[in-house]
Amino acid sequence: MRAEILYPEICNLCGDLMNVRYLQQSCPGMEVISTDLKSRPVFLDEPVDLVYLGSTTEKGLQLVVQTLLPVRDQLLARLDEGQRMLVTGNALDALGLDVESDDGLKFDGLGILPTHARYQMMKRHNSFFLGKFGELDILGFKSLFGHTYDAPETDGLFTVIRGVGRHPGSELEGFRRGNLMATYLTGPLLPMNPPFVRYLLGEMGCNHCTPAFEEAAMNAYRQRLSEFSDERRNPVD
């Protein structure tokens, strides 16, 4: 079993990298490859069971796009062949069509997802999220400068129960394109969602593995599910 983290030196905000550590703790023996900005991604040439890209700064997003642009077509081909990839937080925007902020920042993304990111730099969006992935309840947080717009209301990763999806009013959160799973949820998505980890491990062919520290993780998950389901709590801070 192999996982590859793309650009951990810059894509590491919000505790995102702990998603891979949790996966590794759930699947002892999993090899984790860290690929820096100066190196060619391993998954383009060799089998990798999961590629991971996490949250970064706005400058970091531009660097990710610049770095992946020369291999964009190969990346797209690998995704079309079924490469499994998990993208969390604002890293989703690197895969979109473009990013534009109210402070003048504007750059094109990789154009893999049909969506436009819009940021308001002094108006941070904070919310908690309760959604569905099939029958599974998904819990998470968003702390972002904005949302993503104008994509067709199809191919969502999660459906929204409470909180904000791709943008206020959308019933879908994130994007699913084959085995590419991209979500705006930030931080410890996997430690917070042991049922989803169980699903992911199964998809990766690691059927004998269980989420690490499953009892403790499930206790925290159940408590949070109860909190997030409580109608007295407003999902948007």
Partner: protein, 464 residues
């Protein structure tokens, strides 16, 4: 018209001050809030003292501001500031309202020492032009509010006036990048025995060169991105310090500060590297004002740290150490954990760094737990970790991920019930690690922990 609006706002706000005193609310920022509602650009019309020092940065700005104000007052300066209130625009406006006369003139004060929240810079500096801005450090803070340090550095660069002189931490390349065209001096601490070359922390926000994106190499790394770095691709490197801390001796609470080749011995206020940086920030700032090292040395020795942030007392058979570890702030948490784990002796830990304000109506975003180095707590001499409050179950999972054996961890959502599980083994040090947003709960539970320690220890006296 605008000036009339200003005077109306000022007079209304001044009138509110005695009313607040009568109702025992004099510590609030209400005067500033009221005045800003009437006149949003209130500070534009305010007079100014001869010198304005602003202190900003992620960690340490309260300690530095308080020390600066104390030392300046000890030396005869008449100091105004916002130490009694908040570090946002309303708190700073309140400080000005209290200090000025009925026409907004500042006549009774020589110096303003203003603690300024980084994000509030955009609302303060268009109207208040500091002579000096001291930036303690820029690190990750609340992801909900401050996003990431690069965002905050950008805010400061856009906000700080061009004429302001910066006092910067040379060991922090993020704050070194603020307002590159401004005049500046640097402070830093020379290589320590405990420094490393490769980062052992989860967070290092300066891994690539800010000039060419090449990999940064550290001559020495203290923690996170704090250290001295060089880019092997383009030669960019950390600046040299005008005020260099050397011979840092935590055991004897002393440090040499070298300026232009001459060393001066200073006392350290605690045995914590964070506070060594705070002391250096204060020295570098006061030197800009022309104060001599001898004067600063004498005043520094009379300075005490705010006991709301750190305290220690013998209770029954144990020592209870109260250590603030700001919730939502991974850097503060990691520093507190590193400090605790480096202390000698057997330790029992009580973690109550919950964000109670969010817990009441929303939910704390727990991302920061996964940026915080809980791994420091995986040590043999940390014999028990008690997790308390709404996020206790999250703490437990995070501690397990950090490798802490499950048998050492107890948790309860109720703080008092959690405290009941502390062992209070004679001779142990009990560390009480608390956040910053619910002092009522923090003090209530601390008193309860002390009561339990006394009961278990046969009601021996408390020794401060």
């Amino acid at each position: 018209m605008s000036k009339l609006r200003f005077l109306l706002a000022l007079w209304m706000a001044k009138l509110s001050i005695p009313a607040l005193k009568i109702t025992r609310h004099q510590g609030t920022d209400f005067p500033g809030q009221l005045a800003l509602k009437i006149c949003p650009n209130l500070l534009q019309y305010m007079g100014r003292p001869k010198t304005i020092i602003a202190v900003t940065g992620t960690n340490g700005k309260t300690t530095v501001s308080n020390m600066l104000a104390d030392i300046l007052e000890q030396n005869g300066y008449r100091v105004m500031g916002n130490r009694a209130g908040a570090n946002v625009i309303s708190g700073i406006s309140t400080a000005y309202i209290r200090a000025c006369d009925l026409f907004g003139r500042i006549r009774k004060y020589d110096v303003a020492v203003l603690e300024v929240d980084e994000r509030s810079s955009v609302r303060v500096y268009p109207y208040v032009t500091p002579d000096y801005v001291a930036i303690t450090n820029l690190t990750r803070d609340s992801v909900m509010r401050n996003a990431h340090p690069d965002f905050i550095a950008g805010i400061l660069t856009r906000s700080i006036p061009r004429s302001t002189k910066l006092i910067l931490n040379a060991d922090d390349l993020i704050s070194c990048g603020v307002s590159p065209d401004n005049q500046r001096v640097y402070f830093g601490i020379d290589r320590l025995d405990t420094d490393v070359k490769e980062c052992i922390n989860l967070i290092n926000d300066m891994r690539i060169c800010p000039k060419c994106n090449g990999k940064l190499e550290y001559e020495y790394l203290r923690y996170h991105h704090i250290g001295r770095a060089r880019c092997r691709d383009c030669g960019f490197h950390s600046p040299d310090s005008h005020f260099l801390g050397q011979n840092v001796d935590f055991a004897n609470h002393a440090m040499t500060v070298t300026e232009e080749g001459r060393g001066y011995t200073y006392p350290l206020i605690t045995d914590n590297i964070f506070n060594a940086y705070n002391v250096l920030t204060v020295i570098a700032t006061l030197r800009q004002m022309g104060m001599t090292h001898e004067t600063i040395q004498q005043s520094m020795s009379r300075t005490v740290i705010d006991t709301t942030r750190y305290g220690q007392e013998q209770v029954g058979d144990v020592t209870i150490i109260k250590q603030m570890s700001k919730d939502l702030n991974a850097m503060a948490g990691s520093r507190a954990f590193d400090y605790v784990s480096s202390r000698p002796g057997r330790k029992e830990l009580f973690l109550v760094m919950n964000n109670m304000t969010d817990a009441a109506h929303w939910s704390e975003n727990t991302c920061w737990l996964y940026d915080t180095d809980f791994e420091f707590l995986n040590k043999d001499d940390i014999v028990q970790i008690v997790c308390a409050g709404p996020r206790a179950l999250d703490y437990k999972l995070r501690l397990l991920m950090a490798g802490v054996p499950e048998e050492k961890i107890t948790c309860d959502l109720n703080e008092e019930k959690a405290a009941d599980t502390l062992r209070f083994t004679p001779g142990d040090d009990v560390y009480y690690l608390y956040g910053a947003d619910d002092w009522g709960m923090i003090n209530r539970v601390y008193d309860y922990v002390k009561k339990l320690a006394l009961e278990r220890g046969g009601s021996k006296e408390v020794q401060q």
